[in-house]
């Protein structure tokens, strides 16, 4: 008798715990829902729903005001393909993104390597180089608008004072120059971010590797090419993708400094989207521009990620 109970006991317990466990699961599930609910509601309402809705609106002639809107199929996209200014916007956006990617990341990597080397103890330089990134793009836009101003601007006045009047330019008014002036300003602002990210990558490179390389009598370039650069690949990936996404979406800086001018020489897709919608009320068409821009950003970041991650894996 006693023996059987001993055998049965664990079975008994298991039967008892099964419903309890289910109840516990249910409680857990309810708790999970409670944890997720606020974030899910806010994110769905203000990010996901508008994006899905915009896919629909891009097929209409919606002006944002009139209650009646007409389904126009792919007309917006057809108009877009044959719209020469959209092609200019696209070109400007790509040139800007490429310029920022090269200039900003190039300077950031160079300075990170130097500050990680024999200037390691001058930590205040990191702080100094990050200050521009703490200012708003608006503030930076105004500072550089003044520096670039053709007549009484700082740069031209400075050039004439040091006898280089011949170098004076209308930095933002010259259609051939304006994108480069903007690229430089954008890189000036965000270089510090890139540098800090590269520095974090550099600090993770084990010092023994350099010691070993020194014993082998390698040159500085060889050390960079075969040790540093491969090992900071994750930081390179992050910086390239971040600058790509950021500069493809560029709005504030251009809006403040040139508003796309002169003509449409510095008009980016984001500026165009804003103008279509809020000055012309072409919401449907503006949304089509937005979709093209997003597809471009998505596509380019995917290509970049795939390409750069592959390099990371190869190590």
């Amino acid at each position: 008798m006693e023996q059987t109970t001993i055998v049965i006991e664990p079975l008994d317990k298991r039967e008892e715990t099964a419903p309890r466990q289910r109840k516990f699961r249910l409680r857990q599930l309810r708790a999970q829902g409670l944890f997720l609910l606020p974030a899910l509601v806010i994110f769905t309402a203000f990010v996901v729903y508008p994006i899905l809705a915009s896919l629909y609106y891009s097929l209409t002639d919606w002006d944002g005001l009139a209650p009646d809107l007409h389904f126009v199929g792919l007309a917006n996209f057809q108009q877009l393909v044959s719209d020469p200014t959209v092609l200019t916007d696209l070109k400007n956006t790509l040139v800007f993104a490429a310029g920022v990617m090269v200039l900003q990341n190039g300077i950031a990597l160079l300075l990170a390597i130097i500050l990680d080397g024999f200037l390691r103890r001058l930590a205040f330089l990191r702080v100094l180089f990050l200050i521009p990134a703490m200012l708003s793009a608006l503030a930076i836009g105004y500072i550089w608008s003044y520096i670039y101003a053709p007549q009484f601007g700082f740069l031209n006045t400075f050039l004439s004072k040091i006898g280089l009047s011949a170098w004076q330019q209308d930095w933002l008014g010259n259609a051939h120059l304006v994108l480069f002036s903007l690229i430089f300003t954008n890189s000036w602002e965000f270089m510090g971010f890139g540098m800090v990210i590269f520095l974090a990558g550099l600090q993770a490179v084990p010092a023994e590797l350099y010691e070993a390389a020194n014993i082998d009598g390698t040159s500085g370039w060889q050390r960079f090419r075969y040790i540093t650069f491969p090992l900071i690949a994750p930081a390179v990936t992050v910086n390239v993708v971040l600058t790509l996404i950021g500069s493809m979406k560029v709005f504030d800086l251009i809006f403040v400094m040139t508003n796309g001018g002169p003509g449409d020489a510095s008009e980016s897709l984001a500026i165009r989207l804003y103008k279509e919608a809020f000055t012309q009320n072409h919401f449907g068409y503006g949304t089509a521009v937005g979709i093209v821009m997003s597809v471009l950003i998505l596509g380019l970041s995917m290509i970049n990620l795939r390409f750069l991650r592959k390099r990371e894996v190869e190590l």
Binding site: Q28, Q32, L34, F35, L36, A39, L40, I42, F43, A45, F46, V47, Y49, P50, I51, A53, S54, Y57, G64, L110, L115, G117, F118, L119, L125, V127, L128, L130, I131, P132, A133, M134, L135, S136, A137, L138, A139, Y142, I143, Y146, F154, W188, M191, F193, I197, A200, G220, P234, V238, N239, L242, I245, K249, F251, V256, A277, G290, S294, I297, L298
Partner: protein
């Protein structure tokens, strides 16, 4: 020992190529330092000049400091109200982000079934999609919900836009926190909410700092969302107040720069005080992303 020392000496500092590369590096650092410092000095010096001195002495340091520029900018651009709005919006946004982001990340990190994996991807996909894509329906939605020109409207937007990154950071970090403590608490009869806030959340301080820093940077300096959703007087944040102010005082660079300094100072001062956490936070945020 002796030979090794000699070898080292001749291999390192006496090598002229080595000296040249160090000199070049130093030059590059000096050059960029100047490029960073000069515009900031220009900003300050223009903000302190009188209109007359702006014409006579465009390059140099002001002979006389016109501090009243700051008072004029403060009053004419109603920066007091804008400062209040910016602090309120940034502050509540950060609270909401930390609260909702950490909470949502908890089940996503702890229950790794296919269901929670899908929810996680749903959120994180928001990292790549630019906000401009949904702009027009969003405008209509905000209008229909009467959220345009309201604090709560803009705060909800900022929370929504930043949530993917915040959830991404928290989920990654919670996975590295051992479960034993919370399991013990649950067995002791604590509710999941109590367990999370009393046991788990205090362990997340490093990510919370990163979230606060990246969130503050993107909210405080944002211009696009206020431009579209906060146009009414008295509701504007600092960047928008300055933008409208510049529209009125087109060429008065002294007042414009004074207002730029006032609006930038809070974040720059916080950055200078907490620089170590900022630098760590930016790197941690980016390299996890």
């Amino acid at each position: 020992m002796q030979t090794r020392l000699v070898l080292k000496k001749s291999a390192m500092p006496l090598n002229p190529g080595f000296l040249a590369s160090r000199g070049l590096a130093l030059l590059i650092v000096l050059f960029w330092s100047a490029l960073v410092v000069i515009p900031l000095v220009v900003l300050l010096s223009v903000a302190l000049k009188s209109p007359v001195e702006m014409l006579n002495n465009p390059l140099g340091w002001p002979a006389q400091f016109v501090w009243s520029n700051f008072a004029d900018a403060w009053n004419n651009a109603s920066l007091g109200q804008a400062l209040f709005n910016s602090v309120l919006i940034t502050g509540v946004t950060l609270l909401g982000l930390i609260l909702f982001g950490a909470m949502a990340a908890y089940p996503l990190a702890r229950f790794t079934g296919p269901w929670s994996q899908r929810v996680y991807i749903y959120f994180v996909a928001g990292l790549i999609v630019p906000i401009q894509l949904g702009l027009f329906p969003l405008y209509k939605e905000m209008h229909d919900l009467q959220l345009i020109n309201t604090y709560q409207g803009v705060i909800l937007l900022y929370i929504a836009v930043n949530l993917p990154f915040v959830i991404f950071l928290y989920t990654g970090f919670i996975k590295t926190v051992p479960r034993e403590l919370e399991e013990a608490a649950l067995l002791d009869g604590a509710s999941p909410m109590q367990t999370f806030w009393l046991i788990v959340f205090p362990l997340l301080t490093p990510v919370t700092a990163t979230v606060a820093i990246t969130g503050a940077l993107s909210t405080w300096n944002d211009f696009f969302i206020p431009l579209i959703f906060l146009q009414r007087d008295g509701m504007q944040t600092l960047p928008l107040a300055i933008f409208n102010f510049v529209g009125q005082y087109n060429n008065n660079w002294s007042l414009i720069f004074a207002s730029v300094i006032i609006s930038s100072l809070p974040l720059v001062v916080i950055f200078l005080v907490l620089q170590r956490y900022f630098i760590k936070g930016i790197a941690a945020g980016a390299l996890r992303g």
